[in-house]
Amino acid sequence: MGKGMEDWFSKQDFDLEKLPEGHRTRFMDRLDSICAEQDSLEEDTAIALRVEHRQNQKIRTLNTTTIIKWSLVAGLAILMGLTVFNMGATPETDLELSSVSPEMAQAQDFFKRTIDAELERLNKEQSPETERIIADTKAALDKLETDYQSIKKDFQVNQDSKAVIAAMITNFQMRIDLLETALEQIEQLKTYKENENEIFI
């Protein structure tokens, strides 16, 4: 009979119970309290670390409200996507977010349209003053596109990795953040110019 018994056990699903109600909230509270604890314990080192952390974050998310907004959208998309995804995704030739589920396809479509629209707005702002900002933004977008291609490669290897799907969504989010930041900077530049002109008058 050999390893028959072990085989049988390894094929069974013994995780039959439901997690207690509200476990997620309790865990988040725990994470929060740990953070608070660490803050008071290692104030000095924490400050240095946090400054660094914040700088890192700044690069990624200059606008906190937009990131929250997009996190919500992405969270929703992941939730919707995964419920369908768990029921079994159909393999398609072009392996992208859209191949995960119809909801993911919708999310991807939505992201792409938003990015295109913002890019168009950015292109309209082309002027000698904004040239630098626009060029920088486009370079950063290219970098994100390269990242996206490598994530896509991961996706071919590991199609049911939630991490990979989340990375794709984050990639889109970052592009949108980047574009919004650029547009904001251009707007600031414009108001600054206006103010300067008024002073001269």
Partner: protein, 183 residues
């Protein structure tokens, strides 16, 4: 084990305290790890508590994960350890009795039970295992359900290899008897 670049980044973010990454890992493993703890401590709120504490420990000690094992099996090890520590603190840890030590002297063939022929399901087996004595239930849980190898079990339960093998063997024959009663 193949870890994709995205996963490497995800665990890095967890280590750095990125809340979104941590919740993502939590969601991925919460159910499985909750059950690992539940099977050992047999109390839902304590199982949740242990699962969440272990998750936080894993985030804090991510550097100790050697990446040879999957994150899941490393985390499982932490959960099992914490669950057993919990039992020990509650003094519910099974003690070794003379009978078992004496049994080590005997030659024990590896017991096998044809589960399919016995018409077993996961649910039924868990029920039958609940009727076993604590030390048998525990070692079979680790060995058969969690799929740990004997070496790991010895280390975790702090028992000798011979002890481990004989206890598993005895536990299996006890399981067989109980299954016959059940069926």
């Amino acid at each position: 084990m193949t870890l994709t670049a995205t996963e490497i980044e995800l665990y890095q973010l967890c280590e750095n305290g990125d809340r979104r990454a941590q919740m993502q890992v939590y969601d991925q493993y919460a159910k499985g790890m909750y059950h690992v703890a539940l099977r050992i401590v047999r109390d839902t709120s304590q199982a949740e508590d242990i699962m969440q504490e272990s998750m936080i420990t894993a985030f804090a000690k991510m550097k100790q994960w050697n990446r040879e094992a999957t994150f899941g099996s490393w985390l499982k090890r932490i959960v099992v350890n914490n669950s057993l520590t919990h039992l020990r603190n509650e003094k519910r840890m099974p003690t070794t009795d003379y009978e078992e030590v004496a049994y080590q002297m005997e030659q024990v063939p590896d017991q096998q039970i044809d589960m399919e022929a016995a018409g077993m399901t996961a649910k039924k087996v868990l029920k039958v295992m609940d009727t076993l004595k604590e030390s048998y239930r525990q070692i079979l849980t680790l060995s058969l359900i969690e799929g740990m190898d004997n070496e790991e079990i010895c280390e975790i339960l702090n028992i000798s290899n011979a002890m481990c093998r004989t206890t598993i063997s005895r536990a299996k024959s006890s399981l067989r008897t109980k299954m016959e009663c059940y069926g």
